[in-house]
Amino acid sequence: MTKIKFIEADGKEHQVEAQEGQSVMQAAMDNLVPGIVAECGGFASCATCHGYVDEAWLKKLPPPDSAEEGMISCAYHVQPNSRLTCQIKVTPALDGLVVRLPVSQTSE
């Protein structure tokens, strides 16, 4: 089991057990983490599973593909460490990953 911590914009923490092979977004959905909407279900079509990945972890992840990059570039509340959590696959190497969530996935 890979442990991932989601931190809502107001600081509320959710520690979840993620399954290898699923996406970080799905791990949040399975655990009813508020703050991730995931409207499109994980197809990089809506940018509503946007999260901030700490710099140290960011380097360990495969870089975003063009679709993810495109969606992120115009998502709400973007930072340099923004990723779509639906595009990050859970592996044992991600044990301890911390993902912070934006104030809103759908508005300014």
């Binding site: 959905m29 399975d30 409207e39 499109c40 940018a47 495109g70 969606m71």
Partner: protein, 414 residues
């Protein structure tokens, strides 16, 4: 006694509502009733990844069963609600039992519109399909083998997505559309002709302005053998190994009607998802709701609407009251190319394209009074996000700059 919310319909709207109630801290009982055998699942991949065999059943499920248990959501699958008794605040189920509710939410969705042709009433056709549920796709998947001849009736998104999967799997595909162009109700001619060319190049044949006259059945009346049609008046017969009907959705409003709730192209609700009965709400594909975007009423058939509408209902049920204000959006995927649409183009005065209409990456913006009311974005995801903002801000735009792909889209608003 503990308060109890019953959600009728375990589709994307019902599932999201159950989750949202817990996320928003609702402490009472939550009962989620679905008539299918499955927990809530994603429908968009049914006509794409699941049909193609790339996604498994459990990958379709929005959440594993353990999640419902862990968050105390009582999920009852294979459970059909037959009637609502508003006086006693009870629903009656298919097995004759009754369940009491404090609040009832109708998330009953819709069903595929059947082909209305004389002479089919008593036939039980094994190779005539629609795509609405897991069982629909499971039933048809075995016939998706190279060389089979598939006739698709209806040139909307479902028909086109299935056409894309089918030609990629080696079937011969002919798609019939009553209108002179594809997707005519939801998009402009520029996008229609792009989509048509895109599919033709990959082997899909089309019959536009096509009237389906009848189906030819085998003697046992169990198999469709052919489809007779008239294309711009010229009669034709197509042989078929299987036929798919993708001609839209009928909202499931019968329960609401029988209970005396207002129904007008969907169950009539206010901006908080409430019907006129203070204890009954309706959400998703089956609901007709006020739209801040159009200023009128609207019934949307889309996942984003189901999800957003469920969140509105959850807020209402926990007493937060947040009106529905989202802008409609949709997406499709054909041959790995993403189509994203925002807004409704109905009533547009001008269409401005950006990028290469001849390639496979361009955007079409629909304008009214110099404002972007809707956009179709093909293969340009960054533009989709910018287009959403243009549509939601209703800012006036400079048409020349809008059509110039060298000008960043997020700087267009005047």
């Amino acid at each position: 006694m503990e308060e109890r919310i019953i959600i009728v319909g375990a589709g994307q709207a019902g599932g999201e509502l159950a989750s949202s109630l817990r996320k928003q801290g609702y402490k009472g009982r939550v009962l989620l009733l679905g008539d299918e055998a499955h927990p809530p699942y994603q429908r968009p991949p049914l006509s794409k990844g699941f049909l193609q065999g790339k996604l498994s059943l459990t990958e379709l499920y929005l959440k594993p069963l353990a999640t419902y248990e862990r968050f105390d959501i009582e999920l009852k699958t294979g459970t059909r609600v037959e009637a609502i008794d508003r006086a006693t605040k009870e629903v009656s189920l298919g097995d004759g039992s009754r369940l009491a509710y404090d609040k009832l939410v109708l998330a009953t969705g819709g069903r595929a519109r059947p082909l209305n042709l004389p002479g089919l009433e008593d036939a039980r056709l094994e190779n005539l399909f629609s795509v609405r549920s897991i069982s629909d796709v499971e039933a048809m998947r075995g016939r998706f083998v190279p060389g089979n001849r598939l006739v698709i009736i209806g040139g909307g998104y479902v028909g086109l997505e299935v056409a894309a999967v089918a030609v990629q799997l080696g079937l011969h595909v002919t798609l019939l559309e009553a209108a002179p162009r594809l997707l005519s109700r939801v998009t402009g001619p520029e996008v229609s002709s792009f989509i048509e060319r895109f599919h033709r190049e990959r082997g899909v044949e089309f019959r536009l302005s096509c009237e389906v006259r009848g189906l030819e059945l085998d003697e046992a009346r169990r198999q469709v053998r052919g489809v007779s049609l008239a294309c711009q008046g010229a009669p034709e017969r197509l042989e078929a190994d299987l036929v798919l009907v993708g001609i839209g959705l009928i909202p499931n409003t019968e329960l609401a009607s029988a209970a005396g709730l207002a129904v007008d192209n969907g169950i009539v609700v206010d901006e908080y998802a409430c019907t006129a009965d203070p204890n009954i709400l309706a959400i998703g594909d089956c609901a007709n709701q006020p739209s801040a975007y159009t200023g009128g009423r609207i019934r949307l058939e889309s996942v984003p609407n189901a999800v957003e509408h469920a969140r509105v209902a959850a807020a209402t049920l926990v007493g937060k009251m947040e009106p529905y204000a989202a802008i409609p959006w949709f997406w499709s995927d054909q041959y790995g190319v993403k189509l994203q649409m925002v807004g409704l183009s109905t009533g547009y005065e001008q269409c401005v394209t950006r990028g290469s209409v001849d390639g496979k990456e361009f955007s079409a913006f629909y304008l009214k009074d110099r404002r972007v009311i809707a956009a179709d974005v093909i293969g340009r995801p960054a533009e989709f996000m910018a287009a959403r903002r243009l549509v939601s801000s209703r800012a006036e735009v400079d048409v020349t700059r809008l059509g110039d792909a060298a000008v960043p889209l997020n700087s267009i608003a005047a």
